[in-house]
């Protein structure tokens, strides 16, 4: 009797959900048909954008098509999220370790950090930091300059300006040299690792890898006639021009999302460390490991198994949170597609569908990669 009842509930639930989906879909189609005479079409993606973008990793002008503007936004989203996730992981691990310190002050500072930043909405944090700290940096005319004649770095309330190389004619040859150097370095590192596994004495693989890369890079630069032309930033007219720029909005968004995500990651790290059996620590100490090496070689490698699954969620959350950049004028994917393009074309259904699909794809790919990593480090005995 109860089995029958359960199945009836389940089937009516099934019916309900199907019907409500059907209703929502048909409602949208009806609304589009009756209220908007323009049918759904994605042809507008090939229209001219008409607007310029300040923050762009690739060349973009107002005569470029709309789909290229979307790509610019996507690259801006990646720029913040990839650097941000890496930095937040480092900071979060650091705070998480601090939290477990036996030093009262250190542990309380970490505790305060976690509880303050975890309990304030990120949008509020963003607006506060951007308005009260970043915008209050000196204006371009009074910019702070470091290492002036040799390698000038300017800090102003428009961002960070630093020297940058633009490719010259010999760049295409230089590129091949770099690739060859990279292949060589990977090969050598692989062989060294094999050797280390065989003999049981692991050489400093990453050091060798770096040395080979550096040597090839420098050699190529000496042999070829200047593959890159270095331009230095300088105050010209209104703005600091020349070199490369990381805008104030980029720093503001990066900073806030990093400190916000690090608070969560710190708690995950703490849980991971506590999950490692006390005996491990005691055994390591008995063998004469320093407390830094106990953490680095014994505790963290085991803690990471507990830390990685929540880290996956935080990384995905981080990527989605980059859309908050809209509030301070960071032109990420959402700001460009849901703001500029949607308003200029009026194509709400099309642009919002694209936004949904893109964020879904990014999150699914991110979780796929991190799940693969998780499977690799899982206990396998």
């Amino acid at each position: 009797m109860s089995a029958f009842y359960g199945s009836s509930i389940r089937s009516s639930w099934w019916l309900w959900s199907r019907l409500s989906w059907f209703f929502l879909y048909s409602n949208m189609v009806t609304a589009l048909r009756t209220q908007k005479e323009v049918p759904i079409s994605y042809d507008f993606l090939h229209d001219t954008a008409g607007f310029n973008l300040g923050e762009s990793a690739i060349a973009f002008t107002c005569t470029d098509p709309i789909h290229r503007a979307m790509l610019v936004g996507l690259l801006n989203t990646f720029k913040v999220s990839i650097t941000g996730i890496a930095l937040a992981t480092l900071l979060g691990t650091f705070i998480g370790v601090m939290r477990l310190s036996t030093n009262f002050l250190v542990s309380k500072i970490a505790w305060a950090y976690i509880n303050v930043f975890r309990n304030i909405p990120p949008l509020l944090l963003l607006i506060f930091w951007y308005r009260a700290v970043f915008l209050k940096l000196p204006r371009v005319q009074e910019a702070i300059v470091f290492f002036d004649p040799v390698f000038p770095i300017y800090i102003a309330n428009r961002g960070l300006f630093f020297p940058w190389g633009t490719p010259t004619e010999s760049w295409s040859t230089y590129r091949w040299i770099l690739l060859a150097g990279f292949v060589l370095a990977v090969f050598v590192a692989y062989r060294l690792r094999q050797h280390g596994k065989r003999t049981g004495r692991m050489p400093l693989v990453s050091l060798w890898f770096a040395v080979i890369l550096l040597v090839v890079t420098l050699l190529g630069y000496v042999i070829l006639p200047d593959p890159l032309e270095i331009t230095k930033p300088a105050l010209k007219g209104f703005n600091i021009r020349g070199g490369a720029t990381l805008s104030l909005e980029f720093w503001g968004l990066l900073f806030v999302l990093v400190i916000y995500a690090a608070a969560y990651i710190a708690e995950a790290v703490r849980a991971g460390i506590l999950s490692v059996d006390r005996g491990q620590r005691e055994a390591a100490r008995a063998l004469g490991f320093s407390s830094f090496n106990i953490m680095r070689l014994i505790i963290l490698p085991q803690a990471i198994r507990v830390v990685v699954p929540p880290l996956i969620s935080y990384a995905i959350g981080f990527t989605k949170n980059t859309s908050l950049g809209l509030a301070i004028g960071y032109t990420d994917f959402f700001a460009i597609t849901g703001g500029l393009i949607l308003n200029n074309t009026g194509r709400a259904v099309e642009t919002l569908t694209i936004i949904l699909l893109v964020y879904l794809t990014i999150s699914l790919i991110a979780s796929l990669i991190l799940n693969m990593y998780n499977r690799r480090i899982m206990l396998s005995h």
Binding site: S8, Q35, G50
Partner: protein
């Protein structure tokens, strides 16, 4: 089985009811507004002079007054309205989905907007142009001197597209900084993050005079880089509603032309002038042709005032903005404000 059948029946019934509610929007907007008992105007949340919350917490401004006039024309009561504050991005969505009946929100009329959005542009009620504001200390007077400047814009507005055109046409470069929140954009400009703030001239003047700590430290360049005809907007496909929105404004303009104000409108009730009699509904039922009461113009003028009174109170000499009428003077005074006749 019977349980499933009952669930199915309920579903179908709910579906039908909801589908009907979608189709209900296809019927006349006027009927919908009358049934609701008040009009919903999509407008500004905070735009001094056009639509903002005053000290008593009520919306007031030039755009708000058009909403009040429309309410007076339909219901004989200027208070029978509701302001739905919208960002420049939301306004067309609110109109298309039927959450509001009309956009009274400084909306520039352009060809692509007219054809792309589900929107019908009714009547130009304010002739504006896009200006550029810079700190006086920069010592700038022409657009050519702005090469390489950073410019604060509002994302998704025509001003953002115009600035791209204006700089491209002159072979100049600039860095745009689009900021969604309007107040944030002003703050960013004041902090020196941008060299230039660009938007409609009226708005540059209105915001600077009401919200800047030191308005004299900023100036609007003598260059107008675009035409910004601000218009009222309704949904496509409701001709009667379009007529009403157009003639509300036309009547307010005609009233100024004939010198009918909120103070002297009662004296005009026994006027011999046939045009005035047709306007005020003492002769022929012009309101009836629009589906409105015969005294619709009288109610608007009595409760809200004519076009000139609305302008003076919110934007002109009677306001902190003190904008000159300029192109927004009546055609009889050399301006562009002109309305078709009552005939």
């Amino acid at each position: 089985m019977s349980k499933k059948f009952r669930a199915l029946c309920i579903c179908i019934f709910v579906l039908l009811a909801l589908t009907l509610s979608v189709h209900a929007q296809d019927t006349s907007t006027l009927a919908l507004v009358q049934e609701r008992g008040h009009i919903i105007c999509i407008s500004h949340s905070g735009y001094p002079g056009f639509g903002f919350l005053d000290e008593e917490g009520n919306f007031s401004g030039f755009d708000t007054d058009f909403c009040r006039a429309t309410a007076a024309a339909i219901f004989g009561d200027a208070d029978a309205h509701e302001i739905l504050p919208a960002s420049s991005a939301d306004r067309f969505t609110f109109l298309a989905t039927g959450e509001g009946d009309v956009i009274y929100r400084t909306t520039t009329w352009t060809l692509s907007r007219d054809t792309d959005n589900n929107a019908q542009y009714a009547v130009i009620y304010f002739y504006d142009g896009q200006g550029l504001m810079v700190p006086t200390s920069l010592g700038i007077s022409t657009i050519e001197e702005l090469d390489g400047a950073t410019i604060c814009t509002d994302p998704g507005t025509t001003s953002e597209l115009n600035i791209a055109d204006a700089f491209a046409a002159r072979g100049l470069e600039y860095t745009p900084l689009p900021i969604e929140d309007d107040e944030e954009a002003w703050n960013t400009y004041l902090e020196g993050r941008c060299d230039v703030r660009t938007t409609d001239r009226s708005y540059l003047a209105s915001y600077a005079s009401t919200a800047f700590p030191n308005p004299e430290e900023h100036m609007v360049l003598d260059i107008t880089i675009s035409k910004e005809p601000l218009a009222h907007v309704v949904r496509n496909g409701d001709d009667q509603w379009l007529d009403i929105i157009q003639w509300v404004t036309f009547a307010l303009i005609n009233a100024e032309e004939y010198g009918i104000t909120s103070e002297n409108v009662d004296d005009f009730l026994d006027s011999e002038d046939p045009v005035v009699r047709r306007m005020l509904g003492t002769e022929d039922d012009f309101g009836g042709k629009l589906g409105l009461p015969s005294d619709w113009v009288y109610q608007m003028i009595k409760q809200v005032g004519n076009y000139g009174e609305m302008f003076d109170r919110n934007l002109g000499a009677g306001s902190p903005l003190n904008l000159p009428r300029g192109p927004n003077a009546l055609w009889t005074d050399g301006g562009l404000i002109y309305a078709p006749p009552f005939r």
